[in-house]
């Protein structure tokens, strides 16, 4: 069974620009995922304000009994959110890989407008391939 459930990419104003599910789990419908993205964006902003020490970058990990939610924020404020199985390992490294694919196949694509929803075939294909390569649960 795949350990990676889904990937969300949220732009710097809290809009969902990319969403993909990888496991046959109960899917979140489009409206809910948009809401989820903006709520996560706000929570992140609040957590930065709450931090007693300066230069906090926001929530990085949310642990639950049935899933873990890893979040990574790039320097431009784009957030990459991965929902994974609690048994999944080296997720931060995988998030870095996703970020790398994003900089290559989205930002270097002349037909992509920044902050807009991502519709790039090559990005989709490479994300899919990266998830396939991620160790599976036997």
């Amino acid at each position: 069974m795949a350990l990676i459930y889904s990937l969300y990419i949220i732009n710097k104003s809290g809009g969902l620009i990319f969403h993909k599910d990888f496991a046959p789990i109960s899917r979140v419908d489009l409206n809910d995922s948009l809401r989820l993205a903006s709520i996560w964006h706000s929570l992140n902003a609040i957590s930065v304000q709450l931090s007693p020490v300066p230069s906090c970058t926001g929530i990085e990990l949310l642990e639950a009994e049935t899933f873990n939610l890893h979040s990574f924020q790039s320097v431009t404020g784009t957030k990459f959110v991965l929902v994974v199985d609690p048994r999944a390992s080296s997720v931060p490294a995988f998030l870095q890989r996703v970020y790398q694919l994003y900089t290559d196949y989205v930002l270097k694509n002349p037909f992509y407008e920044v902050e807009m929803p991502i519709r790039c075939e090559l990005f989709d294909a490479h994300i899919e391939a990266a998830v396939q390569k991620y160790p599976m649960m036997s």
Binding site: D104, Y105, P110, F111
Partner: protein, 197 residues
């Protein structure tokens, strides 16, 4: 190595020592090419015009490349035969631009005056996903322009176009650059052909 690069690029000789490969950052190129396409898009109304603009841009590069790369050859010589020139494009220009020779160079089956250079993964198109509404637009038009620039400047005028061709067994379509030479070129070729006696 370090000493070689202490000199400014314009102060270095055009001639290069053997094995010295000039390299530029592929990312920097990808961003520049992306900007070129985005800028061109603001100036055109259709994808055909966009391809045309890229070809014109490539033409300028091609003319200069012919000059430079011919000069850097072991025995600089003007190419007077069609095949010599095509081999030059395939085995000298391609490695200079992309670090490898083109995947194939062949003559079209249907016509004598048509030749094709194909590449499965043309480096130009590596990061570019063409949206569906752009139809058959191929960013490789820049490469077609470069080839056209070389052919024109060498005295082999041709019509050059880029196409995506689906190849069985490959997930990605390959990019084929089709060259159709003008009748005058083919007539000259026929004249230069040594007569079998």
């Amino acid at each position: 190595m370090a000493a070689r690069h202490t000199r400014n690029i314009v102060d270095r000789p055009i001639w290069k020592s053997k094995g010295e490969a000039s390299t530029v950052s592929f990312s920097a190129f990808a961003f520049l090419f992306s900007e070129l396409i985005q800028y061109s898009q603001t100036k055109v109304k259709s994808t055909a015009e966009l391809e045309n603009r890229l070809e014109v841009a490539g033409g300028e590069i091609g003319r200069r490349l012919l000059e430079l790369l011919t000069y850097r050859e072991k025995a600089p010589k003007r190419k007077t035969r069609l095949l010599d020139l095509l081999k030059f494009v395939h085995t000298t220009v391609w490695p200079y631009m992309f670090g490898k020779t083109a995947d194939s160079l062949e003559q079209a089956n249907a016509a004598d005056d048509e030749y094709m250079i194909s590449d499965v993964n043309l480096a130009l198109t590596k990061y570019i996903s063409v949206p569906r509404d752009m139809g058959s637009f191929n960013p490789g038009a820049l490469a077609a322009g470069i080839v056209k620039g070389i052919l024109d400047a060498a005295g082999f005028p041709a019509r050059v176009s880029t196409h995506y061709v689906d190849v069985p067994g490959l997930s990605k379509p390959q990019t084929t650059i089709l060259m159709k030479f003008e009748p005058s070129v083919m007539q000259r070729e026929a004249r230069l052909e040594p007569r079998a006696t």
